[in-house]
Symmetry: C2
Subunit: 293 residues, 2 copies
């Protein structure tokens, strides 16, 4: 019944006998509780968050629905292990383009071990985490020329500097082939995916407003997942034209801590920087349209 997710772009992947998440055909995502405190911490967060009445409904929808934990056969053949049962946020898409962006200008936090601190800050300085307040962790896009998914190598993605991150965010909403590195991404879908009343930008601004005042949780090392339906783009303009159903979801809560009355300025600063990148792409796109390009 359970299988390896087709559309995972970051994190542990359940291939080659390794432990990783699984999905069923009912739209559920099974994430193994990691061996150390992290798995427990993430399950504890989902328990707390899903029952938290101080979190408004319009914010709850940015998080995967939580269905408790369940013992299921682990992907690494080690027998039955506890898994968190979550909403599979891409189950209703046919050709989802997906990007995972880790938010924050640091992934470590007060009171971690020196070993963990050193590991994190090294990676934070090597990637765009420090310079941009976010880093692209991985993405895949539907390539219309090839009629198949294209994804850059993890090593390449983690090597992005400022320009690399900007280019990836343009490629993510472009219809020309991502493989040809010399071609400029055309940002054909920018206004539909990033813009509009239900687009990515509007959703990010709603999240940002909540982060300006919420002092309940600190979302250390957490990611924003962006998803949209790429298939429907092909039908654009026809009678059956569909919306791209662009959505933002927050994922990965193994390092969430209590806010203790302080806002999550690390997440907030990062998401503001990310928002500015999206706004810049929308503005360039609009000004090109106005100039007839």
């Amino acid at each position: 019944m359970l299988k390896v997710p087709e559309h995972q772009v970051a994190g542990h992947i359940a291939i080659d006998g390794k432990l990783g998440p699984l999905v069923d055909d009912q739209g559920r995502f099974f994430k193994p509780l990691q061996d150390d405190a992290r798995g427990e911490n993430e399950a504890k967060f989902y328990e707390s968050f899903s029952a938290n009445k101080n979190v408004p409904d319009h914010i709850h929808r940015y998080f995967p629905v939580y269905h408790g934990t369940q013992l299921v056969e682990a992907s690494d053949g080690s027998g039955k292990l506890p898994h968190m049962v979550l909403e599979d946020v891409v189950s209703e898409y046919s050709n989802p383009s997906i990007m995972d962006v880790k938010i924050g200008s640091r992934t470590w936090y007060p009171d971690v071990s020196e070993e963990y601190f050193k590991k994190c800050i090294k990676k934070d300085r090597e990637t765009t985490t420090v310079s941009l307040g976010f880093r692209v962790s991985g993405f895949k896009i539907f390539d219309h020329q090839e009629s198949s998914f294209w994804r850059p190598e993890k090593k390449v993605v983690l090597g992005y500097k400022v320009d690399g991150a900007r280019l990836a965010l343009k490629k993510f909403v472009s219809s020309n082939s991502p493989v040809e590195s010399k071609s400029m991404p055309n940002c054909a879908f920018a206004s539909e995916v990033y813009g509009g009343p239900n687009g990515i930008l509007a959703q990010l601004l709603e999240l940002k407003a909540w982060f300006e005042t919420q002092t309940i949780y600190h979302f250390n090392s957490c990611s924003i997942l962006m998803v949209y339906e790429n298939d429907s783009m092909l039908m654009k303009g026809g009678d059956d034209a569909q919306m791209p159903r662009a959505q933002v979801k927050l994922v990965d809560f193994a390092h969430v801590l209590d806010g203790n009355g302080v806002i999550d300025h690390n997440f907030l600063g990062g998401v503001c920087s990310f928002i500015k990148f999206i706004q810049d792409i929308l503005e360039t796109d609009t000004s090109q349209l106005e100039n007839g390009h």
Copy 2:
């Protein structure tokens, strides 16, 4: 003509034959160019900023006016040295209460030397820089019981945790004696200093809005100076009642860098956290008034 500033609360101080800033009686503040690249960098920033037409007028007013550099007799007796000539932002106050708050969740930045990085991150972790996104660097308040200024020791201020920072921000706008550590600060001036259309909060929100889009400068290791006239408080309600003239100024630009198209998410996240602290004090103050306390 030049003398040691009476109201400096942080940074190098021109006493005991040391090099530090001086003031004249015309409202000008003379800051020596530090020996290394930092002084040059700060003067370069002031040159660039004061001529920058892309910075709106309502933002220019949060920065000290810059009058160029001038050779003046240094405070350490080493002869004539180049000084930046700046507006002395407290010259028109009789009994200014002043606080210096260093903004950001880090004081280091990409491409600094390992030595500088290590020095900064150690202090950032020891103070509230990492946890709060800001740290109080120093403050002085006019103590009405004693009719004199009170200032906590530098060592004490740098040892603040979350609660210490919150208490300092309350003391800063209280009329009861700051010395009695067991008494709760009464926040008597909170609504006049922090609140209102011209108060600290309104000014911080205006700055924040600019930081959400400006990608010209990154204000590493820069401080927000809060000043208000404490003397006038005594005349409160009388015919000569004065406004506290609360003002926010940004100071210390030795580590400002070009933004290169990226917002200053480090400053922005920190200032948002600081804003939330001010809002919390105003809300407590208002709810206490409503409850008749």
